[in-house]
Structure formats: structure tokens, C-alpha cells
Amino acid sequence: MEQPDTYRAGPDDSGHFGIYGGRFVAETLMPLILDVERTYEEARNDAAFAAEMGHYLSKYVGRPSPLFFAERLTRHLGGARIYFKREDLNHTGAHKINNCIGQGLVARRMGKTRIIAETGAGQHGVATATVCALFDIPCVIYMGSRDIDRQAPNVFRMKMLGAEVKPVTAGSGTLKDSMNEALRDWVANVETTYYLIGTSAGPHPYPAMVRDFQCVIGEEVREQITDAEGRLPDTLVACIGGGSNALGLFHPFLDEKNVRFVAVEAAGKGVETGQHAASLGAGSPGVLHGNRTYLLQDSNGQVEEAHSISAGLDYPGIGPEHSWLHDTGRVEYVSITDAEALEAFHLCTRLEGIIPALETAHAIAQVGKMAGVLGADNLLVVNLSGRGDKDLDTVARASGIGL
């Protein structure tokens, strides 16, 4: 594949990253999606919007999030100097809130009076419910019934914040099915409702808009690592479900030729078992949920169910920009199993006193594999995308610990 001059110019006017992305939605939604695009374009060129965004990010979310030198983990692994970008310290405990503040402001600008969202691990649901409480907008969250079972604390949080949590029993009762249900709700309530998508996927302009709202992560890292080490990082690592925390970290650096990017998919019980969520590692291009992207699907184009111990990575697709970055070779895509992620979860907790989300534990496990091979002069930043309080039940069960 031909290499572009810049990796930061996408999407094109029709919302495509190479062949990926686009607007594959029902006509009923098209006028609204064009309206979202118009509103977002105006907003991002409006100094007042930027000021409002900046206000909430600093005073409400608590940005900038720290860049922490993980000294014990660095010593333990015996290689690269490892830094944690502490998105887990954001209000609501993950990077998701960056996007929710941004889209909440877009929804308000459009005059929408109701917000819906899908959620897997519940982090996006909590962040959405939080912003809806703050902005006084009624909120409905679609969540797979299986995810409701394994992420009970987040379900309770959403309810306390005033959101209505609607269980989705269709399909496998996970993120994909919640997204179907949210789209059905949106079609039926298109006049009043804004769909606040939680990751850099869906129809244009969502993949670009969500990425832009998450780019604050990488922009801060650029300043912070320069302050700490006097230069740019060598290696950036992040986990990917839909891929927004990875894009937020990577995107500001994509044109830095000496920076290496590693994105970590969920290998579930192992890619060879068929029970995984590695869309890029084991999938093929297809069309689902408004965009063309890599999907887990059978030879007839029926979408398959994903599997991961982490509800937030349990999705058979991936944001379209990642599909393009995959094909261009600019980002390396690898995968980590449930068991490896669990081990990394415990390692991070014991060595650094930081309980990471199971999603994040996939990225840490990959760091564990890589760090020793890299030299001590290699500066590695891993996105600590979320905290793990929500996962304690799952981890206790999987590790055979009684609570």
C-alpha cells in the first residue's frame, strides 16, 4: 500500500479513511448525521466552544492527567523506561469522559433534549450519564444483559446519576447488540435525541469527532514527556476495543517518523480458539454500524460474536481509522489473551499500587512482553486508559478469590 505524506489528514470529505469509514446508515438518520457533521464543524472552529471544552476538561475532568514514571514496573521488566498516562485519574475513572464532554456540548448546541448511548464495560455509560446529569439532559443507556451482570457497580452508578439503563438481550447481550438497540432507538426518536457514541467508530463524522476529543491525551503526553525527558517518546502502547483511547494517544504523533505505535486487541481465550475480539488480527473488511471496517464475520457476511473477559473490548469491529492505519502498516496490531491480561492486572496492582481496568490490563500485558526486549534508553508510554474498580468481581471470579 502506498504511504501517504501525512497520517493525520483523514477522513476525506465523504468520511473515508482509504476504503474505510463512510456513512452506511438508514435514510431516516442521514439528515441528522449531516446535521451532527455541520454542528461539529462549526464547533471546532469556534473559540467559544474550545474555551467551554477547556473549562470542563480542567475544572471538571481534572486535566491534564499526570504522566507517571512507573519505576518499579520498569525495574521489574528490565528494559524500556515505562510511563503511564493516567487517564484512570480522570473524573469517572477513564478516558471516556473526554469524549462525553465534547459530544455533550455538541448535543446541547444542536438543541437536543435527550441523549442515548451504548456501553460495554459501563465506563462510557457512566461518563455519558455523568455529563447528562451535569448538563441536565435525560439519558438512556443501552447495555447488554451479559455486561450488566459482569459490571454491576457501573450499572448502579449510572442509575444513581439519573440514567435509565435498558438491558439488551438480543444476540449475545454485549456491546454489538447494545449498539443495534441504540441505533433503533435513535431512528425512532430522531427529532429529539442525540446518540453519543462512545468510541471512534460509527458513521462519519463520529470516528473523526471522537478521535479529536480524545487527542487531548496525546497532546498532553507530548508536553509532559518533553518536560520529563527532554524528547519525544519512542514507543506508544494502548489497548483497543473500538480504539478511541489508542487514537487519542497515537494521533498527535502519527507523523513523527521515529515513534512506534503498538495497539493491543483482545485475544480472549486465544485467537486460535475462535473466542476472541481481534477484529484486525483475525477479521476482514465489512460494513456494520455505519462504517466499513475490519469485522469478525463468517464467509457469508454474518457478523460473529466477540469474546473477551473485558466487556469494553468485547466488540467484533474496530474504528475505521484503525483499519486504515493497519493496512498502511503505520501502527502495529497485536493481541493479548484473557489470561495474560489478568496476570498483568495483578502485576500492575502489586508493583505500582494502581488497579487498572481489564481493558487497560491488555496494554500492560503487551508492555510486559515488549519492555525487556527494548533497550533502557527506549521511552515507552502506555495509556492507563481506565481504573479497575468496576472489574473486581470479574477478577475475583477468574482468579478464584472469594469476596
Binding site: G22, R23, F24, A26, E27, T28, L183, R184, V287, G301
Partner: protein
């Protein structure tokens, strides 16, 4: 351009001064044999057009009835290939009833657009309705299908405004499908007065016939819509007759096909009497 089956059928309807009945069934629901049996019986029961659903794992624009029907079909082995075989089988017995395939893009994309169009043409498919392909994505299959001589039928919705309508109907052919509610299939029903106004609005932008669907559940509602539009589409309610005639294991009970065809006949009766009543 030679006259198509869809054009010929609308010409017949104009001569008979009535609106048409479009019925939707899912290919392979609840099993291949029953599905073929239903399909063969539909023209005699009074269906003027058949919309044949191409089952998909994630039917985002559909309500529970069609979701379940899609799942049943997939479970009984339906694929795009078996759907095309079903059409070919039907064509051996009926050369005039138009068949329009309706569904989502991914199975076609994976099959390969060119291969799909040539096999669809060979099976005598007359038109395509692909829910998740708005005009913004017309290069995917809308333009290729017109080149291949298969009509591409666009959906319009209450949200499709005056500025957007010309863009939507620009490359439309066969007929234009008006989604009469903002919502998914098989849920709310539109008021006839709103449908009438919408059809008038659409006719200001296109000479193509207008078929109206979503939320039409009874012979009376079908008659009401057929009095003000060129055709009325019934899907979920008909699928309801399939669902009502399944046993505990989800297998077809003996009377299933007749139940579907009897309901089709009731709908057809309603539609056929509509204009006479409507003229009074």
C-alpha cells in the same frame, strides 16, 4: 430502455385504478421448504410485488418480528446463495410478479458486488432495497445495479427534507419507498392524512410510483394507504403469522403457509377495494 417487470406491474395497477400490495417475507424463514412454499403461493393470494428479506445477523432498522425472522432463517441455513436460489425457483413458476430483495449491505459486500449482481440478474431479481446504503454511498451498489439492469429502490423518510429529496431520488429507479414513520419496522403506524401529504410531496420530486411501508398491520390500514399511495407494504404483520404458527421448538406447524397466504388474501382484498371506497 426495455420495460421492466416492476414497470409493467405498476402499469397494470394504473389500468385497474388501484394501489398495489407489496408483501415482505424473509428468505428461508422458518425453513427453506416452507419459505419456498409461501413464496410460490403469494401471487395467487393477491401479492402484487414481493419483497424478499435477505437475512442478516444485525438488522438495525428492524423491530423484533423481523429480527427474529432473520435469526430463524439464518439458523435454518439461509445464505445469500440460498436466497437467490429461492428466487430462481419462484421464477420457474411465475414470470411476472416482481421480486425485490431487501436487506443490509454486508452480506452482499462479502459475496462480491459484481458476482451478486450477475447472479441476481440470472435469478431474475427485479430490484434491490439496501437499508444501510443512502445516496452518499451510491457508488457501492446503486450505480452498478442500474448498469446491470436491476432497479435500485431508495428509501425516503419523514426526515428527508425538501433540500435532500432531489438528491435521494436522483438515481432512484423502479419505485420510491416511503418509510412512513421515524422508527423501526413493525412498531408505530402513521396517520393516513400524513401519508397522503408525504406522497404528494414525493410526487412533486419524482414521477416514479411511491410505495409506503412501516407500521401497516391490518387490511384496513393497507387499504387506507393504498388509497393514497401507489402501493402499500406489509412485512412484520405477515411475519407475525409465521411466528404464531411455530411449535415450541420453533418449527413450522402444518397450517403455517396457509395462515400466511390467508392473511395475504385479506390484505389484498382490502387494497383492491380501497380506491372505490376512497373515491366516494
Amino acid at each position: 430502455m426495455p420495460e421492466t417487470r416492476i414497470d409493467r406491474r405498476f402499469a397494470v395497477l394504473r389500468r385497474e385504478n388501484r394501489g398495489g400490495l407489496v408483501v415482505f417475507v424473509t428468505a428461508g424463514d422458518p425453513d427453506p421448504r416452507t419459505s419456498a412454499e409461501i413464496l410460490r403461493g403469494l401471487p395467487a393470494a393477491g401479492a402484487d410485488f414481493i419483497e424478499l428479506g435477505m437475512p442478516f445477523s444485525d438488522p438495525m432498522a428492524d423491530g423484533p418480528a423481523i429480527q427474529m425472522s432473520s435469526q430463524r432463517a439464518l439458523k435454518s441455513g439461509a445464505t445469500l446463495k440460498t436466497t437467490l436460489e429461492l428466487v430462481a425457483d419462484f421464477r420457474q413458476r411465475d414470470s411476472e410478479t416482481p421480486i425485490i430483495l431487501m436487506g443490509y449491505y454486508n452480506p452482499i459486500y462479502i459475496f462480491g458486488v459484481d458476482a451478486f449482481l450477475s447472479e441476481a440478474k440470472a435469478a431474475a431479481v427485479d430490484g434491490l432495497i439496501i437499508v444501510d446504503l443512502p445516496p452518499e454511498e451510491e457508488n457501492e451498489i446503486c450505480l452498478p445495479s442500474r448498469m446491470a439492469g436491476i432497479d435500485f429502490i431508495y428509501l425516503t423518510a419523514p426526515t428527508t427534507d425538501e433540500i435532500r429529496l432531489p438528491r435521494v431520488v436522483k438515481n432512484a429507479s423502479g419505485f420510491v419507498y416511503y418509510v412512513s414513520i421515524t422508527g423501526i419496522t413493525g412498531t408505530a403506524s402513521a396517520r393516513i392524512e400524513d401519508v397522503r401529504k408525504a406522497v404528494e410531496r414525493l410526487h412533486r420530486h419524482t414521477d416514479l410510483p411511491i410505495a409506503v411501508g412501516f407500521g401497516i398491520k391490518t387490511p384496513e390500514q393497507a387499504a387506507g394507504v393504498a388509497a393514497v399511495a401507489d402501493a402499500a407494504v406489509v412485512g412484520s404483520a405477515l411475519i407475525g403469522k409465521v411466528t404464531e404458527n411455530l411449535d415450541e421448538d420453533g418449527k413450522a406447524r402444518p397450517g403455517l403457509t396457509n395462515a400466511v397466504l390467508d392473511f395475504t388474501a385479506e390484505l389484498a382484498k382490502g387494497v383492491r377495494g380501497a380506491r372505490v371506497k376512497g373515491a366516494a
